[in-house]
């Protein structure tokens, strides 16, 4: 492992080198400081009823934990970022397995978890060949291993649930970690996560203002076409504007490409949200977990990243490549 790689993996002293990262960090800290002041001002002005005030505080406290959990690993270095994404993938799988009942299938469940760990290793190793090979190989492995239980009743459902889990939480979320193999991973990840989170907020606000027609009433009764279109316009604008600074002097920094990235973030973010909503409606549960007050579980919070991460990864990879100038196979190579 050379000095350049060590720097990328653990180089916390260069965390704030990028101007974009500095702005992100200052903005996050500023929001955390200003939000409670804003709450108190609005309450004293009678703009927030007591019930909503309590709810907002709960959400704020959850963000006080979530915010550092999302930003600190990225600032610490690529190693911690990849590790954090690996842990997030396992936690998301755990919620999914408990919601679907797949956790009762010990061997199958263990294989999905092992597959997620294998993906995390390939990401950390910067071994793209293994990273892409793992999906077909591991999906086949899960399907083949289930044969040995000699239990054909329910085989399709068990294996399909396991392969879906591996593809969503292992492979799709694994792309979020793979960004950390790029020299500029910090601004890219902050940009992506910010846009995805804001996409949710834009959809909520636009829905409240213009939402009359339901988007998918059986899947997610609160989502509206107005909210989806509002999020599409606002997220695309924001992603393109901030993306200009994130991808400055690269082949991505072109208005049409930046707009395309913004559209993809917004569409995939909303589809990821609806995907998890579909699973919840199918299982007739409200939330995937109960970890954060006001947020549900890990999956309820990070569902929008599941489809957005691989889509943006491959789009940015197509335009400029990701981690092409970084040494590959840093652990498994010679």
């Amino acid at each position: 492992m050379n000095a350049q790689t060590r720097q990328r993996l653990f180089g916390v002293n260069h965390a704030l080198d990028s101007g974009v990262v500095r702005v992100f960090v200052i903005a996050i800290v500023g929001i955390f400081i200003l939000t409670p002041i804003l709450f108190m001002l609005l309450r004293s002005a009678g703009k927030i009823p007591d019930k909503h005030y309590e709810e907002l505080w709960k959400r704020y406290k959850s963000w006080l934990i979530l915010g550092p959990m999302m930003t600190v690993p990225v600032l610490l270095g690529a190693f911690w970022t990849i590790l954090a994404v690996g842990i997030l993938s396992i936690l998301c799988y755990r919620e999914y397995a408990r919601a679907t009942g797949l956790f009762r299938e010990r061997i199958t469940s263990l294989l999905v978890a092992a597959g997620i760990l294998a993906v995390t290793f390939s990401v950390l190793d910067h071994w793209y060949g293994l990273f892409t090979a793992l999906f077909p190989l591991w999906a086949g492995f899960i399907a083949a291993a289930a044969i040995f239980e000699d239990r054909p009743k329910g085989y399709i459902q068990r294996v399909a649930l396991a392969v879906l889990a591996f593809s969503l939480f292992g492979v799709c979320l694994g792309h979020l970690g793979y960004f950390a193999n790029d020299r500029d991973f910090r601004p890219i990840l902050f940009w992506l996560v910010l846009c995805v989170e804001m996409n949710d907020i834009f959809a909520y606000i636009s829905g409240k203002m213009f939402g009359h027609l339901k988007l998918a009433p059986h899947t997610s009764p609160n989502k509206t076409i107005g909210g989806a279109l509002g999020a599409l316009i606002l997220t695309t604008t924001m992603a393109a504007a901030i993306g200009h600074f994130v991808f400055r002097n690269s082949t991505v920094d072109h208005p049409a490409r930046l707009i395309m990235l913004g559209l993809v973030i917004s569409i995939c973010g909303q589809l990821g949200d609806l995907l998890i909503s579909s699973i919840k409606r199918d299982l007739e549960i409200k939330d995937m977990g109960v970890l954060f007050p006001g947020h549900g579980g890990w999956l309820d919070r990070f569902d929008s990243l599941i489809l957005a991460a691989p889509a943006i990864f491959h789009l940015v990879g197509y335009f400029r490549g990701i981690g092409l100038d970084q040494p590959a196979r840093i652990l498994s190579g010679n």
């Binding site: 408990r98 068990r158 939330d287 109960v290």
Partner: protein
Amino acid sequence: MEPWKLEPAHDHGMPLEQRLKSVRRESGLIGVAAHVAWWRAIRIYLRTVHRLKVEGLERLPTEPPFVLVANHQSHLDALILASQLPWRIRLRTYPIAAADTFFDSNTSAAFAAATINALPMQRGRGGAHALDDLRNRLAAERCVYVLFPEGTRSRDGSMNPFKPGIGMFLAGTDAPAVPCHIQGAFQAMPPNRRVPRATPISLRIGDPINFKQSPNNREGWTSIARQLEIAVRDLAGQLSNSTSSG
């Protein structure tokens, strides 16, 4: 083999502290790994420190559901009984522990849940509802319970009468009860000791008894408790005879 069910965990939606104290708790991969490690260590401990001698292992049913019923001499008892089951069954084995002793704080509840996979049993008021949940779970999940019908540990080493509550688990169900007798656990760890002495312990397992025909009412429960108490006392007699003759 359990049929596949597309069904959320029975404790889905509960916060962690509530999950740990719930009779509907279900373990995932991490829980199973903790139980496997715990039981492996306990088996080694019992074999080496207490030179545990077991008779009648072949009488255990090969498939759950069933209930292991024994005299209660010490905190080692549930460990002695559950550790004798094959690991495949042990992962579906739940010692039933007094909620006011083992689940009174989050720390003790976490320990009881993560290690021996105990389920809480409320004593006194509120117990009937929990008992219904436990009875339903025994049949629905085809699991194993470890129960001590005396209700509490012996204070002097002698066996106390069995309480009829045991009958409420078993009356009219397919789950047989397996009477067991533990000897030596009181000497190893009486109620006033926190650390066990390295003294020998014996376990004798009796023939399973089915109570499917027993009426699910007070009369039936009392009769079940009496039959099981006699069965365990019989085993105690055999054990003391075999010990004295051996």
